[in-house]
Point group: C2
């Protein structure tokens, strides 16, 4: 079996070769299989990143809530119209019942996310409760960094000088990996569109374990199939 | 520069090394830079595949029309709600002005696409006019194959025995590549979610040329960035 995403193979080999999760610092305790995931979006969020989060985590069995911080129907960064499940101010479940908050990138989407007082409060509360926070592309630098959530954490984001500067200014430690897990801060970050599927898979692996992640990766065709 | 998508490197190297497009059989004549793309969707279409088509082609500069064959707001295969630009029966532009029809997969989405008389007529007409038709995942086998559009063409789709059987039954010649271009029938097909971004990029390259494709691939982070 050959790994499709070559540069992701270090991240990924442990799934296929069944090496212990502790290599990446993931907890190996037995976890409940029901997880609610909050995916905040806004006008101008990135649609590939958004679907790679919602689709992949739904395949894992997560209950995904897509919550808009702008209007309920939003025009995404490349023109697709998505109807959110709700506004961020009226989640269908108590915020404390969500296992993870996962942020897509996309400009100007991240600016709306960064400006939303409700979301900022949710992120700080979730972090305090040691919940998982994950962010991709422009979201680590523009949303998490100003809230001081990257301070002291290895992390990544879309590789542009201005985004990198924002991350480092607030104490984030830039990594060159495509997906970065920081156990200390319960944080998963990633670079952008081409790494979004692996980002979604990594969040799923964190919550549902490596066996399930291997299954979903196969279904998504992330593993080379060879001749059939 | 290292190629992120290892198994796609044969397909892709010609972009980076500026080898002639004729290697893959693409026309190298100078093309107009405005292209309209029709993306038919339905309730149960695959959202990663759909956004990898619409987002990537919008980045190329295409005018993308997302047209539903069911209701205007559709629940996609993994729960995301997308609002189409229009119904397939009321396109904003004459059907003959579209450069390509690009079909996402997803079950039961493909069944709705396959059952839609308007779409079937559009596909047959577009094929007759030598327009580009592209399809991914379950769409080649379930939508194109019954219309005889794969007959005699090298092609691919989601690698399941039942889909493969449908393709071969109607004269399609299965290839093991992730994205397959058949110049004879003006057809681009691809496997599924993990190959969807490269599929979108290949359609974009066909329409806008290799230089633009290299630029968009870089922006999407499909090429390894190395140290920055
Ligand atoms: Cu972005």
């Amino acid at each position: 079996m050959r790994i499709l995403h070559f540069s992701l193979s270090i991240n990924f080999l442990h799934i296929m070769l069944l090496l212990p999760l502790s290599i990446r610092g993931f907890s190996t305790k037995s976890l409940p299989t029901i997880h609610r995931i909050l995916v905040p979006i806004a006008s101008g969020s990135e649609e590939i990143e958004t679907t790679c989060i919602t689709d992949v985590l739904t395949r894992f069995g997560a209950e995904v809530t897509v919550a808009s911080v702008t209007s309920k129907t939003v025009k995404m960064s490349r023109g697709l119209n998505i109807e959110a499940d709700c506004l961020i101010t009226s989640l269908p479940f108590p915020a404390s019942t969500y296992s993870a908050i996962v942020l897509p990138g996309g400009v100007p989407g991240v600016n709306h996310l960064a400006d939303c007082e409700t979301l900022k409060a949710l992120l700080l509360e979730h972090h305090e409760q040691k919940g998982l926070i994950a962010a991709i592309c422009a979201a680590p630098s523009k949303v998490l960094s100003p809230l001081n959530l990257l301070n002291g954490s290895p992390c990544t984001g879309y590789p542009s000088p201005s985004f990198n500067e924002l991350i480092e200014k607030n104490g984030g430690i830039l990594s060159s990996d495509d997906v970065v897990y920081c156990p200390k801060n319960n944080l998963i970050t990633s670079k952008g569109p081409a790494t979004a599927m692996m980002f979604g898979l990594t969040v799923g692996e964190y919550l549902f374990g490596e066996e399930k992640a291997g299954e979903i990766a196969g279904e998504l065709l992330m593993l080379e199939e060879g001749e059939e």
